[in-house]
C-alpha cells in the first residue's frame, strides 16, 4: 500500500527535473466551469481529463483552473480556453473524449475544434 514515504522520491525527482512550469504571457489557461449546473452535467471527469492529458503530454505552458457559474447552464460542461494571443474559445457540452481532442488539436497544434465551440452549438 502507498505510504507518504514514497512521496519523498517523487519530490526529489521533481526537484531534480529541469522543467519549470511557465507562468504569465506564454501560458494557456483552461478554465472549467464548476458550479452546480456544471458538476451535475459532468464537469468533474472533464476537468480530470484535461489535467491528465496535459500531464501526459508534459505541457508545461498550460494551467488548468476552475471557475463558478459561466451563466450558460444549458451548455454545461463549459470550458473556456485563453491563449497567449488574447483569444478566448468557449467549448460547450464537453466530455472527457472531447477534452482529449481539444488538448491535441487546440492546445498542442493551435487549431480550434470548431464543432465543439459555442458558436457551432448555439441555436
Amino acid at each position: 500500500m502507498k505510504s507518504l514515504e514514497e512521496l519523498k522520491a517523487i519530490r526529489d525527482k521533481a526537484k531534480n527535473s529541469v522543467h519549470v512550469r511557465q507562468e504569465g504571457n506564454d501560458c494557456i489557461r483552461v478554465v472549467v466551469g464548476m458550479a452546480t449546473c456544471g458538476i451535475a452535467a459532468g464537469a468533474r471527469p472533464v476537468l480530470n481529463a484535461f489535467t491528465e492529458e496535459v500531464a501526459k503530454r508534459n505541457l508545461n505552458n498550460v494551467a488548468v483552473t476552475q471557475t463558478g457559474c459561466i451563466g450558460i447552464c444549458q451548455y454545461e460542461p463549459v470550458v473556456e480556453i485563453f491563449t497567449p494571443d488574447g483569444q478566448k474559445t468557449t467549448y460547450v457540452k464537453m466530455t472527457p473524449e472531447k477534452a482529449a481532442r481539444v488538448v491535441a488539436d487546440h492546445l498542442v497544434n493551435g487549431n480550434v475544434v470548431s464543432e465543439y465551440t459555442i458558436g457551432a452549438n448555439a441555436k
Binding site: L7, I39, R44, L47, N48
Partner: protein, 183 residues
C-alpha cells in the same frame, strides 16, 4: 447529481467561494447501523443566522448571475430522501459546517461514488487551499491531509502530475484497505 461525491464537490465549491483556506471532508459509515454521515467544514467567511435560514430555500442566493442557488437544497434532499437529516451551522468570520446523515439501506439512497475523483479535482485546481479528507468505516479510519503532504513536498507543487497521481492511488488504496478489514 447521480452520486453523492458530486454533491460533496459542489458543496466544497461554496467553501472555496467563501474564501476558505482549510476544508475538511469527513465520510463516516457504519455497516451495522446502515448509516453514513458526510460533513464538509470550512474556515471561510461564514453566514449569519438569517442567511443560513434562507440557504436551504432554493429561491435564495447571494450571487447575482442567477437567482436560484440549488447546491445546498439538492444536497439536503439527498439525505432527507433516505429518512436522514441535514444541518448547517455557521459563524460569520469563522466558518461553516454542513452535515448530511443517511440511512444507507433506504431504497432512495444514492451511491457515494468516486470520492477520490472529487478530492483530486479539488486539489488539482486549488493548490493553495488545504484539504483534510477523513474516511471512517466501522471505527477504522483513513486520513489524507494536504498540509502533511505539502510539508513532505518542500515546495514542489501539490498539483504537479506525479503528485496528483500519487494522491489518487494513495486514497484509492487506503479506501480499499478500509473495506478489506471489514471481514
Amino acid at each position: 447529481m447521480q452520486e453523492l461525491s458530486l454533491n460533496v464537490l459542489d458543496i466544497a465549491q461554496n467553501s472555496i467561494k467563501a474564501g476558505a483556506s482549510l476544508i475538511g471532508i469527513t465520510m463516516e459509515r457504519s455497516t451495522a447501523d446502515n448509516t453514513l454521515s458526510i460533513v464538509i467544514s470550512d474556515d471561510g467567511c461564514g453566514m449569519d443566522e438569517q442567511q443560513i435560514a434562507r440557504v436551504t430555500d432554493p429561491f435564495f442566493t447571494t450571487r447575482t448571475t442567477r437567482k436560484v442557488g440549488l447546491g445546498v437544497p439538492l444536497f439536503k434532499m439527498t439525505a432527507e430522501m433516505t429518512g436522514g437529516s441535514f444541518s448547517i451551522t455557521s459563524q460569520p468570520g469563522k466558518g461553516t459546517v454542513v452535515s448530511a446523515f443517511y440511512h444507507t439501506d433506504h431504497i432512495d439512497m444514492l451511491p457515494v461514488g468516486d470520492m477520490t475523483a472529487t478530492m483530486t479535482s479539488l486539489i488539482s485546481v486549488n493548490p493553495s487551499i488545504d484539504f483534510v479528507y477523513q474516511s471512517r468505516l466501522d471505527g477504522r479510519e483513513f486520513v489524507m491531509d494536504t498540509r502533511q503532504i505539502k510539508e513532505i513536498l518542500e515546495g514542489v507543487p501539490i498539483n504537479s502530475p506525479d503528485v496528483l497521481l500519487f494522491i489518487r492511488d494513495y486514497i484509492n488504496e487506503h479506501e480499499a484497505q478500509l473495506e478489506l478489514n471489514e471481514e
